[in-house]
Amino acid sequence: MTTMNEGMAMTSGARGVRSKQALLLVRPTIRTIRWAALLGGAAAAQLVLWAAKGELSKGGPIPLLPMRLAAVLLCLGAAFVLDDDAGATVEAAVASLMLRRGLRLALTVPVVGIAWGAALWAASRLAASGRGTGSVAPPSLPVAGLAIEAAALLGVTLAAGAVATRSLGHGKGGVAAGPTLLAFVMAVLSLGRYWPLFPAASSEPGWAAAHARWALILVAATIVLAAFSLDPARRWSILRRRWRPQTHGRLVRASRAPVAGKP
């Protein structure tokens, strides 16, 4: 019982240390995030909606294309969220990659969410401005469906950024994530005939199926992002059992007699 209590105390102590670390990391993380790209993406998204003002306020069913364009532009700005020029320096720090990246996402994803909410609000206002004061209830934006699409696009972008950071190095994930998102969008457009993902309206019969696919894409992207956010130096518990340090072999090699009189 005493041992269990000690263990619990140690765990809660470790958690306390971890949360203190996270709190201390907040300010430096805020400084290293590329806010300009993120805010530029948000501004471009608003610009697209403003440019499509005429189409949105035309009346009738709300066109979803401007919202989708805004989502892609927002994600292109968010592609640089995982870039950390100091990543190589802090690799050896106590705080794990998962903690650092989680903190980074916790700070930026709400900003993306706010920008997306602002885009939805602007689109619905523009759509409402085009309708008269008729007795027929105006069609509303399919917020949930569009949110799943935007979240999946963001997930794909961040997963691509995490994979690229692992293979290309810190600070270069965004450079690969942007073109990857473009390729993803192009693939969706090209294969739309066989695997439709962008139905034109929520009243279309394929809407639910398309959004189930978007949800699957979101789950897959989240798994990839989580897997590539694990510390590369981490040893898996399954492997740890089999792995034995080869100290014996090294010692034998080191203790060999010098060759040709060299030490």
Binding site: A36, A37, G40, G41, A44, L69, V72, L73, L76, G77, A79, F80, K172, G174, V175, G178, P179, L181, L182, A183, V185, M186, A187, L189, S190, R193
Partner: protein, 284 residues
Amino acid sequence: MNVAAPLGTAVAPDAVVGVRAPRTGRVILSLARVEGRRLLRHPVFLVGIAFSVMEVLVGWSDLPSGTHHSVVEPLWPAGFPIGPLAVFGFVAANLAATRDRLDGTEELFGSAPLSPRARTAALLASAAWAVAAGVVMLVPFVGGFAIAYEVSLPDVVKLSEEPLVVAVSILAGVALGRLLPTRVVAPVVAFVALVSIVGAYAQPVQPWGFLALWVIPDSLPSVGWHILYLVGLGTCAATLALLRDGIRRSLVAAAVIGVAAVAVGAILQLPASCAGGATPCVFR
């Protein structure tokens, strides 16, 4: 090793043995060869090629069913593979042009004997390799298409705009990378270009569509003026990229010629300038 050289003085081995340094043009050509090969092997450009091949396959599989092919616009499907190649070529060229800035090696390049302008010229010349890739990809598709549907030779000539679209997009990628070397701009511009290409597919006869890089060949009243328009755009992009490293009289003259070509080509390619009037010219 030159023993007589004072400490801290770098002496080029060529200077010691009296061999002439190669001409700048030849060096640019050598560097362009390297950059061109790098561009062709760039993962982003390879993705563009993969999408182009996919578009060819999808377009080819649709032809027998008649999904896209129509009597009014028989050449329309032949442009499908160019869009991805142009968009991803733009991104790859932009990444090549911003490479030194992103890697923080501008100072290292600054100590190299070749001037920044020559390196920019080599990057611009590397567009030829991408154009060659575009032509190699397009020729079998267009050939098979023209034979299968008995498209006339003058109509096939209209397709010469398509490799030029790839060239202009790569020149624009280099220019943007040299003038605005940031990470976020190129994907955003590429996405806007992608949307405009898809828009051109969807609404082929909008008046603004004639000012885009790619116009559906069937809708072109005169391919010559559109090619002049594209050449002008390419000249302007290349000149802008080179002007970043200093203004020269020859560059200013090239810029003026480019702007004039854009203006003349843009006006004369419009359907209103067609001898038969607007509507019949667009829909012929």
